[in-house]
Symmetry: C2
Subunit: 631 residues, 2 copies
Amino acid sequence: MIPRRKHNASSGSLPPPDDKHASNDYILSDGGARDGWRAALRRRFNRKTLHKRIPITSWLPQYNAEKAIGDVIAGITVGLTVIPQSLAYSNIAGLPPQYGLYGSFFGCFIYILLGGCRAVPAGPTAIASLLTWQVAGGVIEKAILLNFLTGLVELLMGVLGLGFLINFVSGPVSSGFTSAVALMIATSQVKDMFAISVTGTTFLQQWISIFRNIHNASLWDPVLGFVCIALLLSMRKIGMIKLGEKSAEGPSTRQKVLTKCMWLLGTCRNAIVVVVTGVLGFWFVATHGTSPVRLMADNAPDGAIPSGVPIPQLPPFGYVRADNSTADFLDMVSELGSGLLVIPLIVLLEDIAICKAFSDGRTIDATQEMIALGVANVGNSFMQAYPGGGSLARSVVSNGSGVKTTFSGLYTGVMVILALQFFTQYFEFIPKAALAAVIISAILFMVEYDVIKPMWRAKKLDLIPGVGTFVLCLTLPIELGILTGVVVNIIFILYHAARPKFSVEMLKTEQGVEYLMITPDRCLMFPSVDYVRRLVTKCATSSSVPVVIECTHIYSADYTAAKSIEQLTADFHARQQPLYFYNVKPSVCSIFEAVAKPEHFVVFYEDDELDRLLAADERLAPRKQPPPLQA
Amino acid sequence: MIPRRKHNASSGSLPPPDDKHASNDYILSDGGARDGWRAALRRRFNRKTLHKRIPITSWLPQYNAEKAIGDVIAGITVGLTVIPQSLAYSNIAGLPPQYGLYGSFFGCFIYILLGGCRAVPAGPTAIASLLTWQVAGGVIEKAILLNFLTGLVELLMGVLGLGFLINFVSGPVSSGFTSAVALMIATSQVKDMFAISVTGTTFLQQWISIFRNIHNASLWDPVLGFVCIALLLSMRKIGMIKLGEKSAEGPSTRQKVLTKCMWLLGTCRNAIVVVVTGVLGFWFVATHGTSPVRLMADNAPDGAIPSGVPIPQLPPFGYVRADNSTADFLDMVSELGSGLLVIPLIVLLEDIAICKAFSDGRTIDATQEMIALGVANVGNSFMQAYPGGGSLARSVVSNGSGVKTTFSGLYTGVMVILALQFFTQYFEFIPKAALAAVIISAILFMVEYDVIKPMWRAKKLDLIPGVGTFVLCLTLPIELGILTGVVVNIIFILYHAARPKFSVEMLKTEQGVEYLMITPDRCLMFPSVDYVRRLVTKCATSSSVPVVIECTHIYSADYTAAKSIEQLTADFHARQQPLYFYNVKPSVCSIFEAVAKPEHFVVFYEDDELDRLLAADERLAPRKQPPPLQA
């Protein structure tokens, strides 16, 4: 009477004759961790694992001239983006400008060997810079140690397979967090745009401070800043124009060249603005001895940015505080506190999101990304850099420039080294307002207001963690904000686990015996079992017909569920009402059978079994009906 | 080709002709909270709600002589258990003996009106006493205020419908907690058994202290204690004997009377031991002026237990500390701390577990239990009692004595009042070791070692939260122990949500086109979506046949899942591999459609649709096979 779902004999029962992957019905269990240590060891040490763990071994043998050209172009273009970006981000992190550059070359070289995603040049990122500022408070030693420990935590997470933790940050929470961070970063740049001093750590405090101090603003800093923003946004727009696309015969060669030039203008806009305003600053200082706008030299401790590549050295395991007391390693760790977990998680979250966006349909090996980023961060910490990772802005440029492999990182790194070696004395003349403009005009596109509409259409409830995380990140300390968002979202899942849905049907067997069929739609785990028992009892006591619980969708159960099923069967037994279980999965059945009394727990799998069970049940004898005439 | 699961026309399609509850196919959604305020208000104020919220209104009209007799017998028998128990439990709570009795009458009267479970006489419990000692530290004012606030929190939880929180304490965690508490309570009585002083708060610390001080033990206290335990256990055993049950004609009248007498002996064993040893203590004091064993009088501040029913008064909102400083209400609340949440939750947990055990198959209204216990606790706090609730020991006696309604609480309460009024001066002569024996011989049966075997057989993984909670409750502060157990168990659910299982089948349409059918077994929520995308991509890229994702079991999805499905469809589109979704539930489909591009997201519901889709797909043209010969 109840047909079991099965596949048509003409397809399912015949094994496919010519398929190499033939496997008629197998279950992919997670991890497959049950096939013993020996197999696990063998799996860990073979060629496939080598390709997986040191990805360069898989792509280097196929490296050719065409790929090399793509990588050279992409590497140099990214270099032109990375240099101004790094100078600006170190400002967000509250560190002297050269520290951004220190984190932009060695990590790239490591990533060539270990990285799995060609479009991710490792380096300073806006979010990591903001978090570094919040955690290390602009103390260079703490920022470097933080980078070292961040790398170790990432590595550890990769080795221990803790990557699944990132899955608990849902899309809405991630969007809310990114948007809030973007607004906070933009806010942090306002002080440089107006040349005022701003106090406070949260978004609100900073804006209050800005409105209080805005009357102290200089004239030329904001003028230069807004002109730069206007220029940057226009160049960005120009870079997106594609000439002749709409004409029937496609773009002509001239149009193609012009499009390419405009794309280059758009891509190098940051470098152009920084170079032009830097020349302007140099000219003012050379001719007037001073500049009407504040320059980068103000950020450097002695007014000069030291030149040269840093000498590799161990990260500092102690430092001298402002009050001349010394902090040892443990003091530093306790001062860094929860940042040691938050920064690795956030960096990985951002990095893996970018990898996914540029995966071209291949799967992303999150574990490998963690290992690569971990080693890159540890390596960078030896170059006195602060934490970084993959940044969306660089990846977009890299991908747009036709990157082929992670080898492009070599050219980016070499450009940064050249900049450090030969150009640092010129960086001092870059106006601070121009760098602020670079950050603001890039970061505003990270505010993901465009996800609200699809979220509203898809699932309105998801707006709660999304908007909640956004608001909380702006008002609370940022790590508390995202943590609350994650917890709220986990509560959704728990509520979901606690409140299964049921379909209830009054049916008749072919013998004409009525019965109630109750179908729960998901697994039975401890938060839901009482609810299930209560609902089944409610449905069952409203009539006295036999009850069948359809267990097709119950793919899993636990001890608490089994206890509840035992109580349920005992209740039905006490009420003299028959209760049967239909189509219980073997794994679930063995759990129930371990606890319930066998004479109360009756399972059937075929429809005609129900007829026989009902016919045999003497409890039904007084009200059993004769078979209907038409049967 | 793939038959959709549906019910046979001879049963499902015909509405049952004579069934009042006829409802051919309805879904019970949780709460049904969507039908407007007006309906909700109407639901709140009608006769059914009155019966639900003031249960006495439903059973009092049907009250008759037979029920009254059952209630009288049960009420008096419970009274004989409650009085010695209350004296002993107040010792666990670190309070003078009369405070246990103060909590054993007014709450019973309130529970008559509001209580939903006839076998639950509210009063002091072992677990609540231990927690009260841990939270209030033996300060009377704090214990009473704790009771008041516990009642308010319970009431609030009832009104706000927070009862579902209790569902997150699974069977294993609850068993581990109860067992650990039983051992801790037994440990707390060792000092009275041996008349030694014991320091330390955790289980381990206390046993270390016991072994250090055991050489100070007096001779007669442990002798009396162990004799009492032996007597109590024997009487318990005797009370369980049923004479003549095995003979063919059933027990004779004489055997029945004898069985009843033995049952009475077993039930009143605590009262018997307390009365006999009390008379012994009185005799010693009367004849020798002192007693070889320590008596209850030592517990009372001035050597005498005050007699009389307490005068109702507001709970104390301030008290004078041992160092003569005064603590006001807020000081007290902050000193009680997390106990204000832990105690209500634990009391409710215990109470509702007992209600379920004696429900006789009816559903338990957890909300009503919360309200009843909340009001009872608030009421008790006006009688200067400390927190209590339902206790398993009393419920077993009550049920065994043939209780019919909650009205039996009246007789229990009256007996306690009589004891307070006329017998308190005699309580002073009860030996402390005898009361310790009463507690130990009862509490040891709360160690649930017998759940380990079924748990092992049902689901070995559930032993982790169970044993973990047990060990942690013994080693950590008790509320941290149970919290860790709950969190570990929640992690199981989250892992479960993050790692769905798949079945993968290579099938052929009737046209002979091969396709891969992937069936995930549960909902798509954010923790699992990346895993799903990775697995589907892995399966799909290993061959290039079209892929069908069977969504029958996907009963729910969220925005993050929709984003992932969009990426998945875009990936397949980029790879030129067809991807179809089969049998997507409408609610899930609308979520996916809100995000995915419609030309990539193809859904079908009927088998022949797949044939048409595959035939129309030009991407398959080069490798489409001719229909096999036998078709």
